[in-house]
């Protein structure tokens, strides 16, 4: 509760005073979450980093630009930044499809770039879980990540995804069922 209030106070400062220090604190709170959210969908570390940077910049611009011409009211930072992240991912794939680039799988990246073989060994379970998550369809990936990794409430997820909480519950239930099936086959 206190964390939520602190977050709202920081956002209020950004909205009303374009306070960059407050935005820096929001960055600290959200950078890992947004990175994970993006990385789940784009698969390469570099893409995830680029898009994460882009998302934070776009969010800042969205908050601080004059919004007299828009009806949208900012109610929560998480709702806003996740929406921008989703849109950025869509933009990323559109761009990629034009460039006709081959997308690399997670495990390939894990084994190719950087010297992290040892780390992969240690976090084998995590890597597998992540791989399973990626096998789910986009809609399921998002709700599972937001609910069980980021530990957001159903209400928060419904704000981000733009669906009613009941629909989110149903999606989550189905996603988890699917994930279990996949896990049973894998583990």
């Amino acid at each position: 509760m206190r964390a939520q209030i602190t977050e709202k106070i920081l956002l209020y400062k950004v909205i009303t005073k374009a306070d960059s220090l407050a935005y820096g604190k929001l960055y600290d709170l959200y950078v890992a979450k947004i990175y994970r959210f993006i990385f789940l969908k784009v698969r390469t570390k570099e893409d995830a980093e680029d898009i994460t940077n882009e998302v934070f910049l776009k969010t800042w611009q969205h908050i601080t630009k004059n919004k007299e011409d828009t009806e949208e009211n900012i109610r929560s930072f998480s709702g806003l930044i996740y929406k921008i992240a989703r849109n950025s991912i869509v933009d990323h794939y559109r761009k990629r499809s034009r460039e006709n680039e081959n997308k690399l799988g997670l495990l390939e990246n894990l084994s190719e770039k950087r010297d992290i073989l040892k780390q992969v060994e240690i976090n084998q379970d995590i890597a597998r879980t992540f791989q399973l998550l990626r096998k789910l369809k986009q809609e399921y990936q998002e709700v599972v990540l937001l609910r069980y990794t980021e530990e957001l409430s159903i209400k928060e997820i419904s704000d981000i995804i733009g669906k009613k909480p009941t629909a989110i519950r149903v999606t989550l239930h189905r996603a988890l069922k699917k994930l279990k099936q996949l896990a049973e086959k894998t583990f």
Partner: protein
């Protein structure tokens, strides 16, 4: 399985690995971001006033609350408009007078105040409001009388008089109720009554005077207004007497402390003293009316203002024979009443000095009754004698010649005087 899976999903963020960003990258990225936004924030204007408020509401007030708050806010606004309109209407009606369109709104506003006061159940407040409204009516009567002549003037005064009487009756009822509850309410009502009765009687007396001095042009109208003023003054005085009666009854109540009783007795002494003074004053006025009438009818010929407002001969000695007899008879009654009044007043004063407030109050009631009786006799006599003199059944017909004949060059002879002494106030 499900638990384990959830645990692993949760572990995605807690353990280092490819699913989390590199720490070095996070730091570098933040520096880059801060540089970018610091440059872009230069052109951003700080939000002020209402916009700040809107942002605050958006962030800190739950959306669900706002959804419910909207119909509530609309209802509240409607309520404010209705009540505000009502309050504005009542405020605008404060200067209205009987006969005005808004006077009804003013009375309705007063009734609303009474309803609110009655919710609290304070008889003291209720009585206070009734007295306040009665005082308002007395002031209105004064203003109506002083207004330009109109066909509705006497009717408007009549309406206000009726309302004043009702307020006094209600105040009287509240006093009765308060008397059964306790001493505090009674004392407060008594003090308030004493003050308000003085104000109301003062206004009514002034209204009567203004009506006679031209406030009401029609002689019949003057007569009506005078009668109304006398009648309503009696009602107001009755309230005052009743209040003293309640106080007197409390002095004999064993449940009331001696200290309080002493306070009550002082209050009774003051109020009884006032009434005795008023009786003396009223009797002297009554006596003067008869004296003037005696002077008038005794003259063989006298001048006065006729019904057309012209100073002229309005009567002759032959026409005033019956009038003379009536006045002589009245004169005798006044002399007798004067003796009685003087005696009773003296006894009442003595009793007051002896702190015997109960007996003093009884004497006061007696002398007030005597004064009222003789006053009624004189009014009646003046009426009858007025018919014999001017041919109109009005008091003013006889009073006006009396006042104007003093300045006119007429020969008048008095047949005597109505008593030689003037009753002194306390």
């Amino acid at each position: 399985m499900s638990k384990e899976l959830k645990k692993k999903l949760k572990g995605l963020k807690t353990r280092d690995g490819r699913v989390n960003p590199d720490k070095e990258w996070v730091i570098k990225s933040k520096i880059d971001l801060m540089n970018s936004i610091s440059n872009s924030s230069l052109g951003v204007n700080e939000k002020v006033g209402l916009k700040k408020m809107n942002s605050f509401i958006d962030l800190f007030v739950p959306k669900e609350f706002l959804l419910y708050a909207r119909p509530l806010a609309i209802s509240a606004l409607a309520f404010v408009i209705v009540v505000g309109g009502w309050v504005a209407g009542v405020s605008a009606s404060q200067d209205s007078l009987p006969g005005d369109v808004l006077w009804g709104v003013k009375l309705a506003g007063e009734k609303t105040r009474l309803v609110i006061a009655s919710v609290g159940g304070s008889k003291e407040k209720e009585a206070g409001l009734h007295l306040e409204f009665a005082s308002n009516r007395a002031e209105e009567i004064k203003e109506v009388v002083a207004k330009e002549e109109s066909s509705k003037k006497v009717d408007s005064i009549n309406t206000a008089v009726d309302s004043l009487k009702k307020s006094m009756e209600s105040a009287s009822k509240s006093l009765e109720d308060a008397a059964t509850e306790g001493m505090d309410g009674v004392l407060a009502i008594a003090a308030n009554t004493d003050k308000k009765v003085d104000e109301i009687l003062g206004d009514l007396k002034e209204s009567q005077k203004v009506a006679k001095d031209g406030g009401v042009e029609d002689a019949n109208g003057i007569n009506k207004v005078e009668n109304q003023m006398k009648e309503v003054s009696n009602v107001v005085e009755d309230m005052s007497v009743k209040t003293i009666g309640v106080l007197v009854s409390k002095t004999e109540d064993k449940n009331i402390e001696e200290g309080v009783k002493t306070e009550v007795k002082e209050m009774i002494k003051t109020q009884v003293g006032k009434h005795l003074d008023k009786v003396a004053e009223d009797f002297n006025e009554t006596k003067q009316v008869v004296q003037d009438a005696t002077n008038l009818v005794a003259s063989s010929t006298f001048y006065g203002v006729d019904n057309n407002g012209v100073q002229n001969i309005v009567s002759s000695s032959t026409l005033s024979v019956n009038t003379l007899e009536i006045v002589k008879d009245t004169e005798q009654k006044v002399v007798q009443a004067g003796v009685q009044i003087e005696k009773t007043l003296s006894e009442a004063k003595d009793l007051l000095n002896q702190e015997n407030v109960v007996s003093a109050f009884e004497k006061m009631k007696e002398v007030v009754g005597t004064q009222k009786e003789i006053s009624a006799v004189v009014v009646e006599a003046v009426k009858i004698s007025g018919t014999g003199v001017s041919g109109t059944n009005t008091t003013s017909a006889i009073i006006n010649p009396i006042t104007t004949s003093a300045t006119a060059s007429t020969t008048t002879s008095t047949s005597g005087s109505v008593g030689t002494t003037t009753i002194q106030k306390l």
